[in-house]
């Protein structure tokens, strides 16, 4: 368990980087510090291994004040992963992983198997990678090594300073998944600094949201999403704000939803087919886009009609038929700028699964689907979704 008690950090130039930090980090949990740059999240983390010394206040690990400990000794017992990987470029991967056990003067016979074990843990074959140098690995591979280097001496606490932020999105995803998997196995106390809310929600047990050197909110990802403490948190967790109709509380005026128009909600690339396509081709397009109906449009994207999978299958035997022979006219459509409630009303009255948005020239500009409406509501205001959900619950 790590405890911050009344911690302040003021730099020589008078800049107050941290204000009155009081925080308890639970053992065996992954705690994410999140906030915009300059919020003090990295500074707070670096207090734990004494890379930064507080101006006042105490940091305790398992009840012991860390200022009473030798900083070098302390750091050897706390894993540390930094943003820019920080693998030593002049050492092989094997040596990099072994660097802390070496510093701790482990028996060399113990180090070698440990290095292999760790490399296997992140699916990097020791035979292939041990004797390579960091520059010969991809960014994702390097950061995997960065993570296992921190794990090498089996510390209870691991600090990770924006470990994945420099990676491409795919490697980042993978490493996040691996971190979750490792954490399930190892149950370390991990402090994870990030500025990416999605990442924090994905990996963290507890999120500590910081701004301007202060803790704004602490809680599980779920509770922060459901009960953002203030506007800052709300913006930070990516809820779209509506124009000027918000009183600052959590109670939301459902009327605010009127501001939305179909343009914000619609899917802009609906699945379409040109009238001269054969029926087999149309089915192929459907399966590719995973939809059950296609809008038939001409080269100018003028909407001509719609074909459903049922009609297609009905007529499938007739090889000479094309889409235009079996399409049906569009029953309902709306023009861009229609308000969302109006569109929703049409959909619910006519029991439509989707609704085409067609401009004055008859061109298909987008498609309103149930999925796109749900997604939009979730973005605009999860609380609304929640209210809907609870209303439904009461009705049921």
């Amino acid at each position: 368990m790590i405890e911050f008690q009344q911690v302040n950090k003021v730099y020589d130039d008078g800049f107050q980087a941290l204000k009155d930090i009081n925080l308890t980090i639970k053992k065996g949990e992954l705690t994410a510090f999140i906030g915009p740059s300059g919020s003090g999240k990295s500074t707070t983390m670096k207090l734990i291994n004494r890379l930064i010394t507080p101006s006042s206040g105490k940091v305790l690990i398992n009840g012991e004040d860390i200022m009473t400990k030798n900083p070098v000794e302390l750091r050897r017992n706390i894993g540390y992963v930094i943003q820019n990987v920080g693998l030593f470029p002049h050492m092989t991967i094997g040596k990099n992983v072994a660097v802390i056990p070496h510093l701790k003067k482990w028996d060399p016979k113990k180090i070698e198997p440990r290095v292999e074990e760790l490399m296997r843990m992140v699916n990097l074959d020791p035979e292939v990678f041990r004797d390579r140098y960091p520059s010969e690995l991809s960014g994702g591979q390097q950061q995997r090594i960065g993570v296992i280097r921190a794990l090498a001496a089996d510390p209870d606490i691991i600090l990770m300073d924006e470990p994945f932020s420099a990676l491409d999105p795919i490697s980042r995803e993978q490493l996040q998944d691996e971190l979750i998997r490792l954490q399930e196995e190892l149950n370390k106390t991990i402090i994870f600094v990030t500025h990416d809310m999605d990442e924090a929600i994905k990996v963290a047990d507890t999120i500590v949201l910081m701004k301007d050197g202060e803790i704004v909110q602490t809680g599980t990802p779920e509770s922060i999403l459901r009960h953002p403490a203030n506007d800052f948190v709300r913006t930070f967790i990516g809820q779209k704000r509506l124009d000027g109709d918000m009183n600052d509380g959590i109670g939301i005026d459902p009327e605010s939803i009127r501001v939305s128009t179909v343009d914000e909600v619609m899917v802009t690339q609906p699945a379409t087919v040109t009238p001269n396509r054969g029926l087999a081709e149309a089915i192929k397009i459907m399966s590719g886009r995973k939809v059950d109906s296609l809008f038939v449009v001409d080269k100018q994207r003028k909407l001509l009609g719609i074909v459903s999978i049922y009609r297609l299958l009905n007529q499938y035997g007739e090889e000479n038929k094309t889409v235009k022979d079996i399409m049906r006219p569009i029953g309902y459509q709306v023009s861009p700028g229609t308000s969302l409630p109006e569109a929703v009303e049409i959909m619910s009255n006519a029991r439509l699964t989707n609704l085409a948005v067609v401009d004055d020239d008859g061109r298909l500009v987008g498609l309103l689907t149930r999925g796109s409406i749900v997604q939009h509501l979730n973005e605009v205001y999860p609380t609304i979704v929640e209210q809907f959900a609870s209303n439904l619950g009461e009705e049921a």
Partner: protein, 230 residues
């Protein structure tokens, strides 16, 4: 002057006097190595010191700079007045002369190490000394090598004026040639000295490249090894 004649004559002169020339050559090399050796022993710690203390660093770098600006002949003569004739004057002169490139390059080398490696080293619990030995120093070797390379080439040149202050080396042959108005002897001294400078430049240049660790590669890397998972 018939070049053909001079060349064959030079070769026969050099082979006739190979024993003496070899002796000059060896003493030349020994003086260079001693001077540079001393400069390394003193200069690298000074460079480390300079990189640690900004103010002290300025003083150190200014002093070594001034030492190098003094013309070599004047420096050696001044030293001779202080210490007397002989090889030790030459060696100390070389030390003063080589100090600047070595101190400066050590300083720059240590300063240019990417801060994230230093932070990583500190964060995983390296003591300041371990950080220096295991991280900072290896990552500045290529700079230190380039300082050494400059120092060596300068030193090889400077040593040729050693005879003026009672030293040995290939300079002795050159001055004998000048005094006796014998171009053969000048060539016999100057050509090996020039070759020595060129060869050390190439060899040290090779090491300078070899010791560049910023994106070190394993030598036995094969094509198929790169198919590893991401």
């Amino acid at each position: 002057m018939d070049f053909q004649w001079t060349l064959s004559d030079l070769i026969s002169y050099m082979s006739r006097n190979s024993g003496m020339l070899w002796e000059y050559f060896v003493s030349h090399v020994i003086m260079v190595l001693s001077g540079i050796g001393l400069a390394i022993v003193i200069g690298i710690p000074l460079g480390i010191l300079a990189s640690r203390h900004e103010k002290l660093g300025k003083v150190i770098l200014t002093i070594t700079n001034i030492l190098q600006v003094i013309p070599s002949l004047a420096l050696l003569v001044l030293l001779m007045l202080a210490i007397g004739l002989g090889a030790k004057t030459v060696i100390i002169g070389l030390l003063f002369y080589s100090l600047n490139p070595i101190v400066r390059n050590t300083y720059v080398g240590l300063k240019q190490v990417n801060p994230s490696y230093i932070e990583a080293g500190r964060g995983i619990g390296m003591s300041p000394l371990q950080l220096l030995v295991k991280v900072r120093f290896p990552l500045s070797l290529t700079y230190i090598m380039s300082g050494l390379r400059v120092a060596a080439v300068i030193a090889i040149g400077v040593v040729t004026i050693a005879p003026l202050v009672g030293g040995d080396g290939l300079g002795r042959e050159i001055y004998a040639g000048i005094n006796g108005q014998n171009p053969l002897r000048i060539y016999a001294g100057a050509i090996p000295a020039a070759l020595l400078a060129i060869v050390s430049d190439i060899v040290l240049g090779y090491f300078q490249k070899k010791l560049k660790f910023d994106d070190r590669k394993s030598s036995k890397r094969t094509g198929k090894a790169s198919k590893a998972t991401t």
